[in-house]
């Protein structure tokens, strides 16, 4: 699952260290910010710092009820970048009213950042072996999109504005 040593890129281009820790095999909840899996949701109350949930393609919010109002962040895993379910997961979570941080993790690199940003993701864990500074430029690949999405409420073809 999550490589906590990797840095985190924000949609505004800022780069910061990751603050979230995972619950190790000893099941002891670490101090500070913690990310849990869906199986560890019962531990949420024991987290002292910020609370995050890690979801995979098996954890669609269509079938699972998540305590969205308790979460500071949701990490959506892209096991392979060709599997685009995470983009729709993001759309569904935003529609359910989730306003916290959405973080893309897994097979994430420069060339998918623009799509992720527009789909409502706030932060990105660029995968190991890629230069995060170089990747950050991918956020600016396109200036204006055609479509409405979480990041852009009105499409150009809806409003006529260009």
């Amino acid at each position: 699952m999550l490589n906590t040593t990797l840095q985190v890129l924000s949609k505004d281009g800022a780069i910061a260290d990751n603050s979230y820790q995972i619950i190790a095999e000893d099941s002891i909840v670490p101090q500070g910010d913690v990310v849990v899996t869906t199986a560890q949701l019962d531990q949420l109350a024991n987290i002292q710092g910020k609370k995050a949930l890690y979801i995979t393609v098996n954890d669609s919010s269509e079938v699972h009820q998540f305590p969205l109002h308790e979460l500071d962040a949701i990490f959506i895993e892209f096991a392979g970048f060709g599997d685009g379910r995470g983009y729709s997961f993001a759309a569904l979570l935003r529609r359910k009213g989730y306003q916290g941080e959405l973080r893309a993790v897994g097979d994430v690199f420069k060339d998918v950042l623009n799509y992720l940003k527009r789909s409502g993701f706030d932060t990105f864990v660029v995968k190991e072996g890629k230069d995060i500074q170089e990747a950050a430029a991918g956020l600016q690949d396109f200036t204006h999109p055609y479509q409405a999405s979480t990041a852009v409420a009105q499409a150009s073809y809806q409003t006529g504005s260009v």
Binding site: D83, G84, Y87, D111, R118, D141, Y146, Q147, Y157
Partner: protein, 547 residues
């Protein structure tokens, strides 16, 4: 046609820069093969058997002469002096060098062209009737709808990595479907409701390939302003639920079949409830889109009387009858130029021919023309008074082959000569059939007949919907050909039935001839091949083909 605003141009220029960067990083080893592959495919770049192939988008088959001249120039500077019109109305270059592709895309961007989403698991080029907007009887011009879908689907952030490719076609004509709409992931039919308002009937889950299937209607009437909201809902259901464990089961048709069309429709409707308000399109935007396709300033011309010319020039008469269609404006005619002849792949067009077609389109029309699903090119706005002169020029350049819609107007994929997926070659089969039926009287006697050839199950040559379909198969390392009969791509669509065991390449023309002789023996007065087939069934054909 829709002309780019600064907004569109910026988007395409940025795409060129993005792809240049991706290609440079790939060549520098910073992007792996597995990372680069989906990225290049979404830019229409395949790596084929001998060389890369670049598929250039022609949105709904509509092009202008400036664009064609640019393709012609690129085909000499970067390729081998020809290009290829595909069954999705796109244009393909067969021999570009990978490192030159960013430069080719930059050249294309100067004439408002690109290769965006011409491959990959994303929403592909939307297609429609090649005579859109100029043929009589349309409920409405389908091009504004196509353009709207183009804008919505281009770089849609949520649907760039779907389970599999996704194709949409739009049909606006009740009597004829030239876009094989029923065989698309989504078929959008322009209709009017009882109040006379324009809207859409939505069909979903059609397709060819390994599992050929006719789509199912999931909505009888969708108000025009809700199209994008409904498409977005449909794509979201597919993106969430389409199979990703097996690429042969990943198309939306498999999902629709597994859930049943009714359950699939319920899921879409539930999602549509959420998207409907946010994605509704304002009436002034629809009006603006319609205005992009305002009819040309046609001259006030009379229909011509060709009796005398027909008597003097029987070849002109044949060409007029076979290669031209009625135009909705009096005094005009639609002309189709055949890109089929023995010796080259169906749909291939040389640099010289492209330049000539551009010159003719400028001289006789408003400088716009269409690429067709049958892999030809149509000049859609020719004044009838210029037809004879146009025919003479085409005749002089061996481009007046009068066989549109007949047996030698073959739809054919590139096959094993170029494509790395193919099981068998398709071009030599097309060639052999063209040579066998090279006499026009014989061709005309056979009547309207679609013969489609695919080199493998992926069905790029649409063999399932050919009246006669030929499919290349691999039999213990040897190339064999399976024949299907009775396929039809029009509104009364049907899939072909398999005749029986496959044949070796060298006997295919004999088998086709026997099938056609069977038809000639059995047909009733005025009956087309498909009609005879539907009346008598496959048995008589089978008996003689395997006799």
């Amino acid at each position: 046609m829709y002309l780019y605003t600064d907004f569109d141009q910026q988007l395409i220029n940025q795409r060129v820069a993005q792809f240049r960067d991706q290609t440079e990083r790939y060549l520098a080893g910073k992007l792996t093969e597995d990372e680069y592959r989906p990225l290049r495919l979404q830019n229409g770049l395949y790596v084929q058997r001998y060389a890369p192939m670049l598929r250039i988008a022609v949105p709904y088959g509509l092009m202008n002469t400036k664009q064609l001249r640019k393709i012609a120039q690129i085909s000499t500077e970067y390729d081998r002096g020809y290009a290829h019109v595909s069954t999705r109305q796109n244009i393909q270059l067969n021999w570009p060098a990978l490192e030159n592709v960013p430069d080719i895309l930059a050249e294309l961007a100067t004439v408002q062209m690109h290769a965006v989403q011409t491959s990959g698991n994303c929403i592909r080029n939307t297609t429609t009737d090649q005579f859109a907007g100029v043929v009589a009887g349309e409920i409405a011009d389908p091009r504004p709808t196509c353009e709207l879908i183009r804008q919505w689907s281009t770089f849609h952030p949520e649907f760039a990595f779907l389970p599999r490719k996704f194709k949409i076609a739009v049909s606006a004509l009740e009597e004829k479907d030239r876009a094989a709409t029923a065989f698309h992931d989504i078929g959008v039919y322009i209709v009017r409701n009882e109040a006379g308002e324009m809207g859409y009937k939505i069909m979903v889950g059609g397709g060819l390939g390994r599992t050929p299937i006719i789509g199912s209607v999931i909505r009888e009437f969708l108000p025009r302003e809700d199209l994008i909201a409904y498409l977005e809902a449909t794509l979201r259901v597919y993106n969430l639920h389409g199979r990703r464990d097996n690429k042969y089961k990943a198309r939306i048709k498999i999902l629709v079949k597994a859930l049943t069309p009714q359950v699939f429709a319920e899921k879409v409707e539930a999602e549509f409830e959420h998207t409907r308000d946010a994605l509704k399109i304002q009436p002034e935007i629809l009006k603006k889109l319609d205005e992009e396709f305002t009819p040309f300033d046609y001259q006030d011309l009379e229909d011509q009387d060709f009796t005398a010319l027909f008597a003097e020039y029987p070849k002109f008469k044949q060409w007029f009858n076979v290669n031209t269609n009625a135009h909705k404006v009096k005094g005009y005619r639609i002309v189709t130029i055949s890109l089929k002849r023995a010796g080259v792949a169906p749909g291939d067009v040389t640099t010289e021919e492209m330049n000539l077609i551009a010159d003719l389109a400028d001289k006789y029309t408003f400088g716009e023309f269409r690429t067709t699903h049958e892999q030809n090119i149509s000049l859609v706005d020719v004044p009838q008074k210029d037809l004879f002169e146009l025919w003479q020029t085409l005749e002089q350049h061996n481009m007046a082959r009068a066989h549109i819609g007949f047996i030698t107007d073959i739809i054919c994929c590139p096959g094993g000569d170029f494509c790395s997926l193919a099981n068998a070659k398709s071009i030599p089969i097309s060639e052999a059939i063209s040579r066998r039926f090279d006499d026009l009287d014989t061709i005309y006697n056979l009547g309207e007949l679609d013969l489609n050839i695919s080199g493998c199950m992926n069905a790029c040559g649409h063999h399932h919907v050919g009246n006669i379909g030929i499919l290349g198969v691999d039999k213990k390392g040897a190339e064999f050909y399976q024949i299907t009969l009775g396929g039809h791509a029009d509104h009364d669509a049907s899939l072909g039935d398999i005749l029986g065991p496959s044949f070796a390449a060298d006997v295919v023309p004999d088998v086709i001839e026997e099938i056609l002789n069977t038809y000639l023996d059995l047909r009733l007065e005025g009956e087309r091949f498909i009609e005879t087939y539907r009346r008598v069934g496959i048995q008589p054909f089978k008996e003689r083909a395997y006799a």
